[in-house]
């Protein structure tokens, strides 16, 4: 838990200068910020407005995932839409039912946007804005308050649904014009019926997102690690998308991913446990070949075995003498396996390390063999699935 909170502190401190929290606290809206690179994709900042609305204290929400506000009546399809937007690193606006701490449900307009690293286009945070929808609005005044998803749920327009579901604003406008002809229906607010946001609520959501993004941008200028609300360049070579990061972040053991197609086969992903085990900082290992783990007493035939395993694209398990940053030695019980992407081609090699002196320290009762298998399995499944999207994201 300590390390998790540490990571959360860092998530903000590394990017933005010290007064960023105060500046965010001064903003009036209800919003949260999350970090997709931390395991569990937790909330790293929650605004005062958000705490007031949700009735939770800051400690109760920091470190938790935004799904903690959902409950039995939350429409699962809306949840899925948010999940997909995160996976595809794009903005979304949707109506969703949430619950306050006291258990009362309320409809809100949720707008979310990724925050990019200006330098390499990687997603470093997400900002989510929660605007409660206060009352049921008349159909005709709903304007753009209805989003694609809710439109899709009306039975009446089945024949037009394919158009309606598309993102095109023009189509949406055309649809809404037609929609308003049918008049309104002043039914009571019911939790299982989607509620609609008014123009004002819509505008509030946009303003809140923009304000938050500009505070974050401003305070990142001062550290020189710039962020921006629009993706400025395509993902840099060898960088993993945040969705793959989220998946890999669930794995609790030490491993690294190596990109075999880049010169000198650098590490492109390193789990925190790996850093802890070896004493290096993340920036000291990313982009480097694994050979820094070896040292004078490392057996060269074992190193040859690793090279052979990579050359022949075969998995292998070996025991190798490695060195930490402080030059102390440890026996590394190492498993290497190729990992294929959706086209069936090798995308990475995964290297799973077990410090032999701690080999039996597994409280789960899983053998070290099985622990290595589980890392390989989880990595293979994640890489395969997530490369399916990035390869063909043209829909």
């Amino acid at each position: 838990m300590d390390t998790q909170l540490g990571l959360i502190e860092q998530s903000f401190n590394v990017r933005y200068s010290v007064w960023v929290r105060e500046a965010l606290d001064d903003l009036s809206g209800s919003f949260t910020t999350t970090d997709p690179c931390i395991s569990g994709h937790p909330i790293v900042y929650a605004s005062r407005g958000f705490l007031k609305m949700s009735l939770y204290s800051r400690d109760e929400v920091i470190g938790k995932n935004g799904r903690m506000f959902q409950g039995p009546k939350t429409n699962r399809k809306s949840v899925m839409e948010i999940r997909e937007a995160i996976r595809e690193e794009r903005a979304i606006q949707i109506n969703i039912l949430n619950y306050r701490k006291d258990g009362t449900p309320f409809w809100m307009l949720f707008r979310m946007s990724p925050v990019f690293n200006k330098e390499d286009g990687r997603v470093i945070h997400f900002v989510g804005v929660q605007v409660p929808i206060l009352q049921k609005h008349r159909q005709s005044s709903s304007g753009f308050g209805r989003n694609g998803v809710n439109l899709c749920e009306d039975g009446v327009f089945a024949s037009r649904r394919r158009e309606v579901c598309s993102d095109s604003v023009a189509e949406l406008a055309r649809f809404l014009a037609m929609d308003s002809v049918l008049g309104s229906d002043d039914r009571e607010l019911e939790v299982d019926e989607p509620s609609e946001a008014s123009d004002l609520e819509m505008r509030n959501a946009v303003t809140a997102i923009n304000n938050t993004l500009s505070v974050l941008t401003h305070y990142s200028e001062l550290t020189g690690r710039l962020v921006c609300g629009k993706r400025c360049c395509l993902s840099g070579m060898g960088l993993l998308g945040s969705s793959l990061n989220i998946s890999l972040g669930r794995i609790k053991q030490s491993f690294v991913l190596i990109e075999p197609h880049l010169p000198d086969m650098p590490i492109v992903y390193a789990r925190d446990v790996f850093l802890k085990m070896t004493g290096y900082a993340r920036h000291e290992v990313l982009g480097h070949n694994c050979r820094f783990l070896g040292g004078v007493e490392t057996n060269s035939s074992t190193i040859f075995q690793i090279k052979e395993s990579i050359r022949t694209e075969q998995a292998c398990t070996i025991r190798i003498l490695n060195y930490r940053k402080d030059k102390s030695k440890f026996w590394n019980f190492l498993h290497i396996s190729p990992v294929r992407n959706a086209s069936g081609k090798i995308a990475y090699f995964v290297e799973v390390q077990i410090d032999e002196s701690r080999k039996n320290q597994d409280k789960q009762g899983l053998s070290h063999k099985m622990r290595q298998c589980s890392v390989v399995g989880a990595v293979k499944a994640a890489v395969r699935s997530l490369s399916m999207v990035t390869d063909t994201s043209n829909s």
Partner: protein, 449 residues
């Protein structure tokens, strides 16, 4: 009698054609199977899940957050054991080497080229006009698989905690439910859940088994780990009760399809109808407890199978959303009503295909895969609008009638623990046994918001 010829999928290395079968070394029948001959002293890992009687919201989990389960069900146990079997060479091919893609289009159908899945197998005749058929111990069934193909036992925890034991003798008296590999996987981690394997249950949904499947989806705790069920006549090939499951972190087209609410049951289960999807079907979600959702869905399935209507079921979103499709493709096929082009693709439209994950056997079909082609195939699977309305009426009639004849079964899951009901509704739900009825007045379709 209606029959179709198809190449059966080989799910186990022991599912050989009679002639190929030969005795091996070792004790028992020589195959180290799960039958009486070999099972004595056999041990397997055991995962005991928590019998949560509430739909698990983050809120209820919040209190437990510091108490992590002893082993992560999906990543550490299921995928780990699966990778171990892969390293041991138990699969017929490396599914991660099979090319796969999302087909451009509104729904994002998923296509996989899998040329190895149907090799070396002769077409067999299948009877498709009887959804319920008695179990036949002489035919291939899961007690005949080798123990190495079984990953772990899956059962409800005796106390209120998730438990994991790496090595537990199989308790023959208690007929454990097990998770086994599918040696012809359609994705990495493809497994079979076989409820009470030693009881020799035919492919037929009952409340307790369906609840078990929902618990498995919940235990995985990952919305991309889905379970599926095919009835006989809807492309199940083995008449021994089983669900399939795998992990694929991509939304399925079916999950994206728009829906229209039909009704909300008294126990909070919302039933909707799929709109603008090639296969007509029902969607179930919500409910005050996991048990509520399980009961409404299994009662619907029971209604279909008792009326001899073939169907498929998809459990998605960690057990929070369930899709049910009555279908008629096999019947059409047997009557010669399916076009030769569609038959040529040899795609059997079972639960995964219906959900939008198409496994194609020919490179040509893979390269030409389009939303239009997928749609055309699936449209053949669907009941006609008229027939679907009739079937829907049957289901709602079954759900509405409070006969309670099979009400007690799944209660055993919750009776064992001290249930402290959370709300009046829950007390009622428990007292009434089971059969929820519809809320009057909530039944009309929503015309406009």
């Amino acid at each position: 009698m209606l029959r179709i010829r198809r190449v059966p999928t080989v799910v186990s290395n022991y599912q050989k054609e009679e002639a190929e079968e030969g005795a091996r070394q070792g004790g028992g029948c020589g195959r180290n199977c799960l039958n009486k001959c070999c099972i004595l002293g056999a041990k397997l890992p055991l995962y005991a899940f928590k019998r949560v009687n509430k739909i698990v919201t983050e809120k209820t989990l919040l209190g437990d957050e510091n108490k992590e389960p002893p082993v992560d069900f999906l990543d550490s146990l299921l995928l780990g054991e699966w990778e171990d079997r892969m390293q041991r060479g138990l699969f017929r091919y490396d599914v991660t080497a099979c090319e796969t893609k999302v087909i451009p289009g509104e729904y994002g159908f998923i296509a996989q080229l899998n040329e190895g899945r149907h090799l070396k197998k002769r077409p067999t005749e299948f009877r498709v006009d009887k959804v319920l058929q008695p179990f036949d111990g002489n035919k291939f069934n899961f007690t005949k698989v080798g123990q190495e193909e079984v990953l772990f036992q899956f059962e409800a925890s005796e106390d209120d905690e998730v438990q994991f034991f790496p090595n537990v003798p199989i308790d023959v008296e208690n007929s454990p439910s097990v998770v086994a590999i599918n040696v012809s996987p359609i994705e990495y981690g493809h497994v079979l859940l076989i409820p009470r394997i030693l009881e020799g249950l035919p492919q037929r949904i009952d409340r307790e088994s369906f609840l078990l499947a929902l618990y498995m989806a919940a235990a995985a705790g990952n919305p991309y780990f889905r379970l599926g069920y095919n009835s006989l006549g809807a492309f199940a090939t083995i008449n021994h009760l089983h669900f399939q499951a795998y992990y694929l972190a991509v939304p399925f087209p079916i999950e994206k399809a728009p829906t229209k609410k039909i009704t909300t049951m008294t126990d909070g289960v919302k039933i909707s109808e799929l709109l603008n999807y090639p296969v007509r079907g029902l969607v179930f979600e919500g409910g005050n407890t996991l048990l509520d959702l399980a009961n409404v869905v299994s009662d619907s399935c029971i209604c279909l199978q008792e009326n001899n209507i073939p169907y498929n079921v998809l459990i998605s979103d960690s057990g929070k959303r369930v899709f049910l499709f009555p279908q008629c493709y096999a019947e059409k096929q047997a009557l010669g009503e399916v076009s030769p082009e569609l038959l040529d693709t040899q795609v059997n439209p079972a639960v995964w295909e219906i959900s939008g994950h198409m496994v194609l056997k020919r490179k040509k079909d893979y390269e030409e895969a389009s939303e239009e082609n997928a749609w055309r195939l699936l449209a053949e699977v669907s009941l006609s609008e008229e027939r679907f309305e009739e079937v829907k009426a049957l289901i709602f009639e079954a759900l509405a009638c409070d006969n309670g004849d099979n009400g007690g079964v799944s209660q055993s899951f919750i009776e064992k623990q001290d249930v402290t009901p959370q709300s009046v509704e829950e007390v009622e739900a428990l007292n009434n046994g089971s059969h929820p009825s519809m809320v009057p007045g909530k039944q009309e379709c929503i015309v406009l918001l």
